[in-house]
């Protein structure tokens, strides 16, 4: 009894050991590593953008994003999707895990999250942050709205940068997830919808009239998100951030297919796994 209380896992019969290792242990390792890599990626990207902006704001530590966005980014906009991925993700289902025990090898060889993997994730973040800052910067440099009024102001640029970021990390998560349950769908699309709902309500007239110092971004969402210019910038940023990753992963699958890829093609002719 004491052994049970002080152990991480306990089970009653030896035949359960196979399932514990090959199914749950493997999934747990996979989920943990995917979670860590994605979490580091999204936060490094978010932070490195401020590094690039420092060159343009006189190194005065001015944030690129709205302060409320910085507060809510990890709390509301990207918390649930990554939680969903780390709870539900499976690369192959349990039956196939039993049939191909060599799927367990990547875990033994520490392949999914190592110093190399972390370094690659950091490099990916640096590239993403360069795209996420300099494309909006160049697109908004010296331009105006379609009625001639200002769009290159700090608040519109902050809104543009944060929208680009949220959409790009969301697409990156969609690429990382390999098991889309209804719960995951709800979390991902719900978080994106929450971003727009919260942004519009924070930038509305009522919040500013009641708390002018706390919510100074009034009108920004309405005045810049109706510009095609802004949406085309968001599209370009997402394309430039995501397509290299897709190409890289496709190349790896073709040139150096891992055990997971090979088993994955066996299981997934219909693309539907249940």
């Amino acid at each position: 009894m004491q052994a049970v209380l002080s152990s991480d896992y306990s089970f009653a019969q030896f035949r359960f050991l196979e399932r514990l290792l090959l199914v749950h242990g493997r999934w747990s390792y996979l989920r943990m590593c995917k979670f860590l890599r994605y979490f580091f990626y999204k936060n490094f990207t978010f932070t490195f953008v401020h590094f690039w902006y420092a060159f343009f704001c006189g190194f005065s530590a001015q944030t690129v994003y709205d302060e409320w966005f910085i507060t809510l980014y990890n709390l509301v906009y990207t918390a649930l999707p990554v939680l969903g991925m780390s709870l539900f993700d499976q690369d192959v289902n349990d039956t196939w895990s039993f049939q191909h025990p060599n799927l367990y090898v990547p875990g033994q060889l520490n392949q999914y999250f190592s110093k190399t993997a972390f370094f690659k994730c950091a490099l990916h973040s640096v590239y993403s942050s360069v795209v996420l800052f300099f494309i909006p910067y160049a697109a908004m440099y010296d331009t105006v709205r379609d009625d001639g009024r200002d769009i290159a102001d700090y608040q519109s640029f902050a809104l543009l940068a944060q929208t680009c970021l949220v959409i790009t990390v969301c697409i990156q998560l969609c690429l990382d997830m390999s098991y889309w349950t209804a719960v995951n769908q709800f979390f991902v699309w719900g978080s994106l919808a929450m971003y727009f709902v919260v942004t519009f309500s924070m930038y509305s007239n009522g919040t500013h009239i009641n708390f002018p110092a706390s919510f100074p971004f009034i009108g920004t969402a309405r005045n810049s998100l109706n510009q095609p210019n802004v949406w085309l910038t968001i599209l370009l940023t997402s394309i430039l951030c995501v397509l290299p990753v897709v190409a890289y992963r496709f190349l790896l699958i073709q040139l150096r297919p891992t055990i997971n890829d090979k088993v994955g093609t066996l299981t997934n002719h219909t693309g539907f796994c249940s």
Binding site: M140, D142, T233
Partner: protein, 347 residues
């Protein structure tokens, strides 16, 4: 989904055999196969190239003309004069001549531009009181401490509008003159309608008083003007009584801080009701008469005047069209490489 419940006995604490708890939820497992990835890449390449071409054509149809007037023409002596703060009270007027080669068809917008003026410095951006600007009476006489050192003037009166942003307001004024063959004609510009609707109507409001007969000067009694200003806030626009106080459009435009050190802000819109400006700005010789007040020597900045037409895509910024074209070509290259790899190794 079968749920087997046992409330008692040796199997009482067995977990439910439901799809959720046994991790068997129906799910979609997408994979990166050649059938999905390659057509997608070719499709995206086509979309990007087409978008790039379309945007390039749109942007090439806009016109923009920038005239740097920091030292140009007779503004040289004004530049020298403004180097000395003691001359701040004296006015200085100068003229810059330029030529428009092709007619600017459509709505023409007149901007003033600043180079190397960092409106995005953190302490500068914090130095304002939005509560005062929205017309709260409490904040009018008690501005926020974020406005230091532009909170009280030398007489101890609270400054309205307080803060470094309002204090550094751009105060050059311009008159655009068209020199046709026969005569010189002042180009009529609308000096209102240059702000966002939400700025003009919600974010910036004059303080409300019950006694509606008070003049704006009386409403602002007990406050001082910002340290670097020559006129108080209730007298910014002597010609239009409704364009004074915190709702003065030039003040609102200036208070919307720019994101980068090189920026332009809207000054006026061409009034196309008057000949010969009904189609836009005709080609020819122009001059700008400038009341040169804003000193830029202190931060190695420059000042310019910008005339621009716009399209549905905005002003003349060629970056996005060219970026789309380059991206389209890169994606096409990548797609070809991926197809070659798939052809050689997978088939």
């Amino acid at each position: 989904m079968g749920k087997v419940k046992a409330n008692a006995g040796p199997l009482a604490r067995r977990p439910d055999n439901s799809a959720f708890k046994q991790q068997r939820l129906p799910a979609w497992s997408p994979m990166l196969t050649a059938q999905t990835v390659l057509p997608f890449f070719y499709g995206m390449a086509t979309v990007c190239v087409l978008l790039g071409v379309w945007l390039l054509v749109t942007v090439q149809n806009t016109h923009e003309l920038k005239v740097d007037y920091t030292h140009a023409g007779s503004c040289d002596k004004c530049f020298e004069k403004r180097k000395d703060r003691a001359n701040a009270n004296q006015s200085c007027n100068c003229t810059v001549v330029f030529n428009i080669e092709n007619t600017f068809k459509g709505d023409v917008f007149f901007y003033y531009g600043l180079i190397n003026f960092h409106q995005n410095l953190r302490q500068y951006m914090d130095s304002r009181d939005d509560g005062q600007m929205i017309g709260r009476n409490k904040n009018l006489k008690n501005p926020s401490s974020y406005c230091e050192p532009f909170m009280k003037d030398k007489n101890g009166l609270p400054i309205a509008p307080c803060g470094a942003v309002a204090n550094s307001m751009f105060n050059d004024s311009f008159t655009l003159v068209y020199h046709s063959a026969a005569s010189r004609q002042v180009v009529p510009l609308f000096r209102k309608g240059i702000t966002w609707y939400t700025d003009k109507n919600v974010k910036f409001r004059n303080p409300q008083v019950e006694n509606k007969t008070l003049t704006l000067a009386q409403v602002f009694e007990g406050t001082g003007q910002p340290l670097y200003w020559q006129k108080p806030v209730y007298d910014l626009d002597p010609w239009d009584r409704n364009n004074n106080g915190f709702i003065n459009e030039d003040l609102i435009v200036w208070m919307r801080e720019a994101a980068f050190p090189n920026f332009k802000k809207l000054y006026g819109v061409l009034n196309r009701a008057i000949e010969p400006f009904t189609e836009g700005l005709p080609a020819g010789n122009y001059s700008v008469d400038i009341s040169y007040n804003f000193p830029v020597e202190y931060f190695q900045g420059r000042k310019e005047v910008v005339l621009s037409t716009v399209s549905w895509f905005g002003g003349q910024n060629n970056f996005l069209p060219i970026a789309y074209l380059v991206t389209g070509c890169l994606i096409l290259l990548l797609a070809v490489i991926l197809t070659a790899v798939w052809w050689k190794f997978a088939l």
